[in-house]
Chain length 448, copies 2
């Protein structure tokens, strides 16, 4: 890390705020996923090969953090609404957007941090000062409860269903649900934690954290040439994930487009739906299982990750060579009428449970165009999965992930709130307000 020039203020020297130029913010759509590094202390921007320290463009037609090459670390937070005042919540979304725009560019929240008023709390909590942007992405989603609580039940998309109870579910209410979510991904965990914490701080009084999850090791790749990472069972899984560069598959399986839209979901064009599941792994019994049984259960070999009878990890699996309850066989699109998910899951370890067992597993994150055609049929099909003896779903949530923030005047969720936000009164049965598909542009002046 380079030393930053200093300035002296009131007898105390402070290190000047590390300011990456804001000029790079409109660099290409987030979906392109290219990492850019910005030079310090100037407005010059250099696009370089993807590297851990760089910044991911915040603006784009889709939110970053979905098709973006998967970063190493995760901090995910689900919030409950603490207000039913729509205008207040909209103001928070604008404040969040402004903060996210700065943090993803490697800047501190607020213009005046540590040069501001000594009598006021700092605009930024400070622990990421001096750290690189580290490919931070911040991705926001709206849970089913938000629409009712803000009097907008008529704008809840049909595709945002409440997930059914699945076979084997053992859900902890305190690790499930939420009205709003923020997915922070970065190659530096301190950068991800800092971002969620500062959004929580900005949201004080409007939202409160319901649950959160740290993920330390990515278990999926959205970069086709990269090795598939291993989960905590030691296996590669999700080998044929959708890559960030596969425009056609992204369009087919991930992004909501005009053909999906109806009156209550017009605001979702360019968005996606997120299913988050905390999957506890029973590590200790698994570790005492024979190699043969482990490989039978997955339908892959452990070393290379090749499907049964095949030589290489990415060889097309021959499903009938596997046992009928093998994980790969049951999860494969061919067993699910083509259903395909974009996965961005992370391994987690939250210490030890009261019985000395590792509290560890997979925090599963999957994006899809319609939950009813994505996660739900696949998860139903996994009811007979042999792996179920060693895993258990203990947390669950579903969110509508709105489209990207297009420019500096735009803000998270604007299409959703463009008309209803005229009124701050929740109106539980406001069936009259026809959402306009062109509502985004009509609100430009409010987003500044």
């Amino acid at each position: 890390m380079t030393e930053i020039p200093e300035k002296t203020e009131g007898g105390t020297s402070r290190r000047a705020l590390i300011a990456w130029g804001g000029a790079g913010l409109a660099l290409g759509a987030a979906a392109a996923g290219g990492a850019v590094a910005m030079t310090r202390g100037s407005e010059d921007v250099q696009t370089v090969a993807a590297e851990a320290g760089g910044a991911i463009a915040f603006h784009g037609a889709n939110q970053a953090g979905i098709a973006t090459p998967v970063q190493d670390r995760l901090h995910f937070a689900a919030f409950d609404l603490a207000t039913d005042d729509r205008a207040e919540f909209v103001q928070m979304l604008k404040d969040w957007t402004a903060a996210a725009r700065r943090m993803t560019a490697g800047q501190a929240v607020g213009e005046g941090a540590y040069g501001g008023l000594a009598e006021a709390p700092p605009d930024d909590t400070g622990e990421a000062l001096g750290l690189k942007p580290s490919r931070l992405t911040l991705t926001i989603g709206f849970g089913p409860g938000l629409f009712e609580k803000l009097g907008m039940a008529d704008r809840r998309p049909d595709a945002l269903v409440d997930l059914p109870q699945f076979s084997g579910d053992n859900l902890d209410r305190n690790r499930s649900g939420g009205d709003v979510c923020v997915q922070a991904c970065s190659d530096d965990p301190q950068v991800a934690v800092h971002a969620v914490r500062n959004l929580a701080r900005i949201g004080f009084g409007k939202v409160s954290v319901r649950w959160s999850q740290l993920g330390f090791g990515k278990t999926s790749s959205t970069t086709p040439e990269a090795q598939t990472p291993r989960n905590l069972l030691g296996f590669k899984d999700g080998t044929r994930n959708i890559a960030g560069t596969e425009t056609a598959r992204l369009k087919k399986f991930v992004w909501v487009d005009g053909t999906d839209l109806d009156d209550n979901s017009a605001w979702m064009e360019g968005g996606s739906y997120l299913v988050a599941r905390r999957i506890r792994m029973h590590i200790e019994p698994w570790d005492r299982t024979s190699l043969q049984e482990q490989e039978d259960i997955f339908g892959r070999d452990k070393g290379e990750g090749a499907p049964v009878g095949k030589a290489k990890e990415r060889d097309e699996p021959f499903l009938k060579a596997m046992l009928p309850d093998a994980h790969v066989r049951l999860a494969h699109p061919d067993s699910n009428h083509g259903a395909t998910l974009l996965r961005r899951g992370y391994s987690f370890t939250d210490g030890t449970d009261g019985l000395g067992r590792l509290e560890a597993g997979l925090f599963f994150l999957a994006y899809q165009r319609d939950v009813r055609k994505g996660f739900i049929p696949v998860q139903r099909n996994l009811a007979t999965d042999a792996l179920n003896e060693y895993i258990q779903h203990v947390g669950s949530a579903v969110f509508a992930v709105p489209p990207g923030v297009r420019d500096k005047d735009d803000w998270w969720g604007r299409a959703l709130f463009s008309e209803p936000s005229q009124s701050s009164e929740p109106s539980k049965s406001s069936q009259s307000s026809e959402p306009s598909k062109s509502s985004q542009s009509s609100q430009s002046s409010k987003g500044a």
Copy 2:
């Protein structure tokens, strides 16, 4: 990551085990702290500038992971003894040493992983296969309870005291104590978690995990030229830490030497004492505190980290310029008769507590030559620390950290167990066995 050549076995292709040459294991003392990278698939060893992917030498007079430049991530585990059979425990220590020797070199546990018997559980759990050594260090310690449980109370060092109750302590029994500890540090969390998990697996029936802690961001540096990392309060702390290159200060404050030894601690020469404290930070009230108050509490400015009235982070503080209860003033060696600790603490975030607050703080790790002259007086002096309004110690443990493993025939704790291990019967009052300082070499043949 490079693709590894493949071999075909029984019709199934497996990726060959990634084998870094074992030849590099004797490369210099761990205290030198240099990272070495080994070439794959050969016995050639190249010493390169410290880099994230390299391996740290396992063998040395002192254990690695103390003076070693601090890695980015931590997995720390405290174990309870599940046996009182000394011979069984000694065998586990030998097995642990062999596994640690391989894992720190970037190898899988066991020679035959994934080429071994399909009918047996794999020797290695597999999730680090294909990952680099990532500067993994494994550091073991023995807690006070071990000596009594194994009938070796006469070999418990006087310096391994039970910590007193400190002002403000609010200790959770389930996050405190332990008979054995393993500190795994690495630049890749998956590598650290893998290492602890495999040791726990090998120790099944002999030890069980009592508690564990994941740390995601280092808060101390033992590299003098590096920037001091920031803790979750946004401040630099521990600026004047002991560097891994400061041989004189290490000798004075960290390593147990001949002048410290008596009958019951002769086995500790080259060792150290570790105090681990889980310190919860009250993040939300802190974030609503004014910049001035935050800076007054620490006795530093937030941006640069300079002591009150000074310009630069590493300027010598003028303690009397600070408020009497400023953290830097009370923790400074000049306020503690020179007491100095080597700190290797990490930030942690374990999600959210039941009240929606970030369950976050500092997992404090400090090494010292004698706890009675190190942590205890400093912590007593911090009773009036202004910071105490925003932090609380909720976990505590102390361990005697034995000297390093010297070569391939040596094993963790051999000096301690060299004579008593002749008998597998716990003998609660075995005052007769005079520990021999030359006992290490007499056991060489058993360690192989």
